[in-house]
């Protein structure tokens, strides 16, 4: 069980006041707040052992390299990967997915198919759309039902022998829909063993236990900054066989074995995909974030979020004129609640809430195809994490009532 009020003491920013009121941060889907241990890990590198990695024989360079590679091993353990070599550090989920799309894109032929879902974030939609269009392939979209869920039966018609990739988010950043990845992977592999399955796990890894061996997917992508880590560091996990097959994404130092005038030999994974000086402090901070989350236990994190989400859903249901989208049951959704309020534009909702120190996100949340499909226009979104309390939700509800009054 998470004691949110004691956990909150670990997060310096929660001491902050906005317009004289305590900050009520409800935008963890966009980025998470950072515990002191992560901030200290980052500043520790910059104050005590700043040096480049893999380059030096001297003490601080060895320290930096060890810390960087230790972070890699920690992340591998965190998601149940077999080998640390299966963890590639990138800038973020977007870069991880672009890396995959670039590599796979090179192998696509005319009439090859790539499938994604209508609820994807632009980072798991646009890279595939563009690469497939370039090669005159077929870009298929798997639609959701009225509850915001995917129907597994659709796969029977969607997956053909020409389908090269199915790429899907484990947890939607708008609807909160949690998709049954393990079932989806086994269904896809049964229908076409050669089809690869990729997972955008940006909203999943921070909030629930993820085991890539159990999922059975071929690659997953997630961001450090959404899981208490620094910005600028992300992860691509992929099976070592896939990483060995994929071509390098960027060329330069640290990803080469030998460079001659007429040819170059590249390193194997993961360094093949880590050209140039990486975000050393970022990786070290991410390692500290993993430590923090493992100490709490992701089972406890998930349980806490279900409780908060359930509380929020019930409270919002009591306000006339509020429409919440996505699955009805808190157990079927991540800690993300997107809603509309009759007669009030989301911008105005957010502006009024800001007066009370409440931070929510508004707009299309980088999921324009989804909003087009649902025909609902822009939405307001409140998202929760291990430091969110019921009191936070109470302030949100009070704020929404205030908006209603102002605009009636």
């Amino acid at each position: 069980m998470i004691d949110a009020s004691s956990v909150r003491k670990d997060f310096p920013q929660l001491q902050r006041k906005i317009n004289g009121k305590p900050i009520v941060y409800l935008d963890s889907s966009a980025t998470s707040l950072k515990p002191k241990s992560v901030i200290d890990a980052v500043t520790g590198y910059y104050s005590d052992y700043t040096a480049n990695v893999f380059r030096g024989i001297y003490t601080t360079s060895e320290e930096a390299t060890a810390a960087y590679e230790l972070a890699r091993a920690k992340v591998a353990g965190f998601i149940g990967a077999h080998l640390p070599e299966e963890i590639v550090f990138t800038r973020n989920t977007t870069e991880s997915l672009n890396l995959l799309a670039a590599g796979i894109g090179k192998t696509l032929h005319h009439e090859d198919e790539v499938i994604t879902t209508i609820m994807e974030h632009h980072s798991n939609f646009v890279p595939w759309q563009q690469r497939v269009m370039k090669k005159n392939g077929v870009f298929k979209i798997w639609n959701i039902d009225k509850e915001g869920q995917l129907n597994l039966g659709d796969l029977d018609t969607l997956i053909t022998r020409r389908t090269k990739v199915l790429t899907i988010s484990a947890s939607s950043n708008v609807l909160g829909t949690i998709s049954p990845i393990k079932k989806i992977v086994s269904t896809v592999k049964r229908l076409n063993p050669k089809c690869l399955v990729f997972v955008d796990a940006a909203q999943a890894v921070p909030h629930m236990a993820v085991d890539v061996k159990d999922w059975g997917a071929d690659a997953i992508a997630f961001s450090g900054h959404k899981m208490l880590g620094p910005t600028g560091i992300g992860v691509l996990w992929a099976r070592i066989s896939l990483l060995s097959d994929l071509p390098p994404y960027q060329y330069g130092g640290d990803m080469i074995e030998e460079v001659h005038r007429d040819k170059t030999l590249f390193k194997g994974p993961p360094h093949k995909f880590e050209a140039g000086t990486p975000h050393i402090a970022g990786a070290i901070g991410l390692g500290a974030a993993v430590d923090y989350l493992q100490a709490l236990g992701l089972g406890a994190v998930r349980k806490h979020e279900i409780e908060i989400t359930d509380y929020a859903l019930k409270a919002l249901a009591r306000i006339k004129g509020v429409i919440v989208i996505g699955p009805r049951d808190a157990r079927d959704r991540g800690g993300v609640v997107s809603f509309r309020l009759d007669k009030v534009h989301p911008h105005d909702i957010a502006q009024v809430l800001d007066e009370s120190g409440v931070c929510i996100r508004v707009g299309f949340h980088c999921a324009q195809p989804l909003h087009e499909f649902l025909e609902i226009g822009p939405t307001a979104r409140a998202s929760f994490y291990l430091y969110t309390t019921k009191e936070d939700i109470d302030v949100l509800i009070e704020g929404v009532e205030k908006v209603k009054q102002l605009f009636k």
Partner: protein
Amino acid sequence: MDIYREIILDHYKNPRNFGHLHHVDASAEAYNATCGDKMRIEIQVKSPASPAGREKFRRSGIPLRGTKVKSIQDIRFSGEGCAISQASASMLTEKVKGMSAAQIQKLSFQDVQKMLGVSLTPSRVKCATLPLEVLQKAISSI
């Protein structure tokens, strides 16, 4: 709530010049993909029609064609968006009736800010200037 002064809320809830014109001389539309704000502006233009009006311009040396001469006879806006964009459109359409096209092209964000009378955070500036952008787009076509 500083930004939602009475006057802004009034224009939002009771927008002036909302709807469509029977006779449209020029129109323009914009859609802000990041927030879903849609705006359409239709204008009816007046040029000096009477012989006396035309003679006045001939004597002053100002060409009869051109933006100094054409002015807004009537104007409507439609679409959907946040309180700031809608109130801004309502107030702007009131303000520009009778103004010449040349004068309208000279309007800037500062004028919009003054017109609204509230200080805008950077993220809301685009909401406030959307109607002006659309209006200037429509004007540029006459």
